[in-house]
Symmetry: C2
Subunit: 190 residues, 2 copies
DNA sequence: ACTCCAAAGCTAAGTGCATTAGCTTTATGG
DNA sequence: CCATAAAGCTAATGCACTTAGCTTTGGAGT
């Protein structure tokens, strides 16, 4: 192939880097091209315009999160598993604060990778709440409850929505305590 | 004054309308000018550029939310108050889904109105958790817990982050139940 | 009623970005 | 060694934000 040896993958890598460094609003084709050492229109050989690139970055972020959650669900169970997963979620968003807002949307219906990543995250959460809900239909509400709570916390923390930065660890501990205590009545097995 | 009789207020009104209709990304000075029946540069007589207008819209959204929360905190107490406030929060975001993402940021430090609105929301929440925490320092963690949980739920719902739209009311009921049950151990007075 | 002036509007012009079209180069496979 | 398809480029268009500077208008004060 030709000079810079770009691939769709590499372009998305650069885009993710820009988002992590400067936030989603700073993602522009011009900036990606500059980092790639290439003229802006050349990117269209690898990516179908800015909106598509945004979606690809979102997919990548969803996949990374899924990996983290899957890892955090290994070898734990019960309340400890809930704490492990939620803590991993929060820590991941703290490490990548600019991705926070990207994690709330539905995966693109035409992107199997995004669908798979989303399903994988749900599966990790489902494993963790399995002992709190008998049927999958019951558990979905618990999964949504946990996801909403951590996601809200992570977004607020990442975007400075909590007034003072101090004591946020204590607040997160409170969140975990409240959720774990609130989940107790749903437990199936003593 | 002159022809269109614009004011900073009126410009922000139009901007809020655009955000509510088409989302934050659709907010452009050109579109505001079109709705106002005015040439784009004329807006600079009333507003200090697009970023400032965005902030003003955010402030307005924060104020509206505060009003809703204040109203929902009237004449209720205990668990019912928690449910009332959180339900009002969720309903408000459902009514204005495009504002969801705007409600996570810190209020601009140089905008007293935004500061006041944020403080007012916190005050409503504080009143509701007063019987669960003795000191203000204790309550802040409960406030953050509740806010994170509802905000996460509202954002995920508004942005389609929950897979299927059905059963979301049940999920929200579960969220409320879990939070109320989890809060119980913190109750001061029986 | 008249004058003046500040506010509110306008047009013109510059900049940056996204995107499309069409050309040129390069590397690779036959 | 050459043909070709991918990868890159330049040129050009359109849209949005923004600044500069001019024009109009409506009301305040006489």
């Amino acid at each position: 192939m030709a000079r810079a040896g770009l691939t769709p993958q590499a372009v998305v890598d650069l885009a993710v880097g820009i988002v992590d460094d400067e936030g989603p609003d700073a993602l522009t084709l011009a900036k990606v091209a500059q980092r790639a050492g290439v003229a802006t229109p050349s990117l269209y050989k690898h990516v179908d315009g800015l909106p598509a690139l945004r979606r690809a970055v979102e997919t990548r972020a969803t996949e990374d999160l899924a990996r983290v959650l899957n890892a955090a669900a290994l070898g734990v169970s019960g309340d400890a598993a809930v704490r492990s997963l939620l803590t991993a979620y929060r820590d991941h968003v703290r490490t990548h604060p600019h991705r926070a807002a990207m994690l709330a949307g539905a995966p693109a219906p035409d992107d199997p990778a995004a669908q798979a990543a989303a399903a994988s995250s749900v599966a990790s959460l489902d494993a963790v709440v399995r002992e709190y809900g008998a049927s999958a239909a019951d558990r979905i509400h618990l999964i949504r409850t946990l996801r909403a709570a951590v996601h809200g916390f992570a977004v607020l923390e990442a975007q400075g929505g909590f007034g003072l930065p101090q004591d946020i660890d204590t607040s997160f501990a409170t969140l975990l305590d409240v959720l774990v205590a609130g989940l107790a009545p749903h437990r199936r097995t003593a």
